[in-house]
């Protein structure tokens, strides 16, 4: 069993043919975590006995001749901001280091019912704030392809677990690219669904109007399988939307001939690393050979997107993180014996620098006298960006770009300059502002062997077309172009 090449379909065929049991597949991954994790540091914690219990239940089902559910025996890594009942959920923050989730997130409940096995909770930037996983309060995750490089972020542990052969797939969360960018950096597939497609119940909130949970997998078909399980309206999340869930696995087989792929003029203007651009151009030529039509489109407000995004995301973060006060859960530091002293000391000791920066700026842009100038204005610019996408996507089926303007960077290369780190999110944040779905698929490597990702953005609730083009691209050899 070559773990790095295992897919959901292969797990299924191993089980169905009786070539391996779910317990054996789970154990092989737990062994792999033991071997690889000390170097890659993808996981914050792993509960082997619970994982083996889940796997044993799958074997029991098979023994009694019952049909195997969609993800039977599939080992998954779960980002550590998604609640699994009875397991710690730290968000890679000291403030939640000892917090144990009381309930399953809706996505976890659905994956459990589908027979998936949770091999461990994956490292991330603290509270999902970052693009390199260097902001974890515990340790830095490394890129399995090149150990001195970052795996991307904030779902860097999830991406590294899949790329490093420690899980067949993973869940991440994406507020401004946190699934797609680490997928790109680690050479795997990452899908951010439409806002409202997947329930956020049980996901620790960062930017509530931007956050979405999605899969990281080795193949596009696997992403389709996981999305099919986790998508849907949930009464526990009032922002989840009651649009019927498509049969994504069936949808990917449709031909892509005649589909229009938009290339935003503003994205390809400048600032893309030459090696990235070269591979993306080769990827686009491949799409053309598959029968897609490449069309130039305009996204005129692109240059304002990062500023808009950071104002909105920081404002929402500062509100969401107000709940961490040392009273009901998490860390408590006593301060000078007063209640407010306890709040301040707890939050000072519990939050890392990036989180503090965002709380300070978020509070500033929401404060009296600045609200209109910053927050309200950013919300209006958000409307303009959303309209850009509506206009462009009226002309084309999807929009293509690099996922990240650069290949993976070295550990420490950008960590002292927050603004430089924010600027690298240019191609991914707009999807969160507009609420549209996006996928990153591998698109070759640099000469040094560092992965490059092609991003496709689609219309609201049209994950099917993204997956369909992604699958055609993969089948035609695009991943290793």
């Amino acid at each position: 069993m070559e773990l790095k090449e295992l897919t959901i379909d292969k797990v299924r065929s191993l089980l169905e043919r009786g070539e391996a049991s779910a317990v054996e597949i789970c154990q092989a991954h737990l062994d792999s975590v033991e071997r690889r994790n000390p170097e890659v540091k993808a996981f914050i914690h792993s509960d082997a006995s619970r994982a083996l219990d889940q796997a044993a239940r799958v074997d029991q089902l098979k023994k009694t001749g019952q049909p195997l559910p969609a993800l039977a025996g599939v080992p998954l890594a779960i980002k550590d901001n998604i609640s699994i009942q009875g397991q710690r959920c730290t968000c890679a923050s000291k403030i939640l280091e000892n917090y144990t989730a009381l309930y399953d997130a809706t996505v976890i409940e659905k994956l459990r019912t589908a027979g998936a096995v949770f091999v461990g909770k994956a490292n991330m930037d603290e509270f999902a704030m970052g693009s390199s996983t260097e902001n974890s309060a515990f340790f830095q995750t490394r890129n399995p392809h090149a150990i001195d490089y970052v795996p991307g972020g904030s779902s860097g542990g999830s991406a590294a677990a899949v790329a490093g052969g420690m899980a067949v797939g993973a869940l991440g969360s994406d507020t401004g690219g946190s699934i797609r960018q680490p997928a790109s950096f680690c050479g795997v597939v990452g899908l951010k669904p439409t806002y409202g497609r997947v329930s956020r119940y049980g996901l620790v909130a960062f930017g509530s109007s931007l956050d979405q949970i999605g899969p990281l997998t080795r193949t596009v078909k696997d992403a389709a399988r996981v999305l099919g399980v986790i998508a849907g309206r949930d009464v526990h999340d009032a922002t989840s939307v009651a649009v019927p869930v498509s049969d994504y696995v069936a949808a990917i087989e449709s031909p892509v001939k005649g589909l229009k792929v938009g290339l935003p003029k503003q994205y390809f203007k400048s600032g893309i690393a030459p090696e990235v651009n070269g591979k993306i151009q080769a990827g686009l030529k491949l799409l053309e050979r598959l029968g897609c039509e490449l069309v130039e489109v305009e996204l005129p407000h692109t240059e304002y997107a990062i500023a808009c995004y950071y104002v909105v995301a920081m404002a929402e973060a500062s509100s969401n993180l107000a709940r961490f006060d040392g009273v009901r859960y998490g860390l408590r530091v006593h301060g000078e014996g007063t209640l407010t002293g306890m709040y301040r000391e707890t939050r000072d000791a519990g939050f890392g620098n990036e989180v503090k920066r965002r709380i300070i700026l978020g509070t500033f842009v929401l404060s009296s006298g600045y609200y209109d100038a910053y927050y309200l204005r950013a919300q209006k610019v958000r409307t303009l960006i959303k309209q850009d996408f509506e206009k462009a996507l009226a002309q084309v089926d999807v929009i293509a770009s690099p996922t990240s303007p650069t290949p993976p960077f070295r550990l420490g290369e950008k960590s002292s300059d927050p603004l430089a780190m924010y600027l690298s999110d240019i191609f991914t944040i707009t999807a969160n502002l507009a609420g549209i779905p996006g996928i990153s698929v591998p698109c070759g490597n640099t000469a040094e062997g560092l992965p490059i990702g092609l991003q496709l953005l689609g219309k609201h609730f049209d994950e099917s077309t993204l997956l369909r083009i992604g699958h055609a691209f993969e089948t035609a050899g695009g991943f290793t172009i």
Binding site: T100, L102, Y304, A307
Partner: protein
């Protein structure tokens, strides 16, 4: 400079966030360069633009509603399990009323 020591301290107070002297020195430069960057939003005329709070909403908002009926949720005991200090079925906090 939009943000100086005074502003950081004021905002820190609003956010109930203790900030050390060392952090203040580190943050002030970084926060100002981020704010300066964000200023570019002022180049756009947004006088006739409606703000967007949520990008995706059902056309029929009633679909997002559930009946207002009580359902079982966590017990008091469960709810207290993560509390740093608890007692008599409550979360304990430092005294908030001064001694007479």
């Amino acid at each position: 400079m939009k943000i100086g020591v005074k502003e950081v301290e004021y905002v820190g107070k609003l956010a109930q966030l203790g900030i050390t002297e060392e952090e203040k020195n580190l943050f002030i430069g970084q926060l100002n360069s981020i704010l300066e960057f964000v200023e570019q939003l002022n180049q756009l005329d947004t006088s006739n633009v409606e703000p967007t709070a949520h990008a995706v909403q059902s056309a029929d908002l009633s679909l997002n509603m559930r009946p207002d009926e009580p359902v079982p949720t966590f017990s008091q005991e469960q709810s207290l399990t993560n509390g740093p200090e608890t007692g008599s079925g409550h979360f304990k906090v430092p005294k908030v009323i001064a001694d007479r």
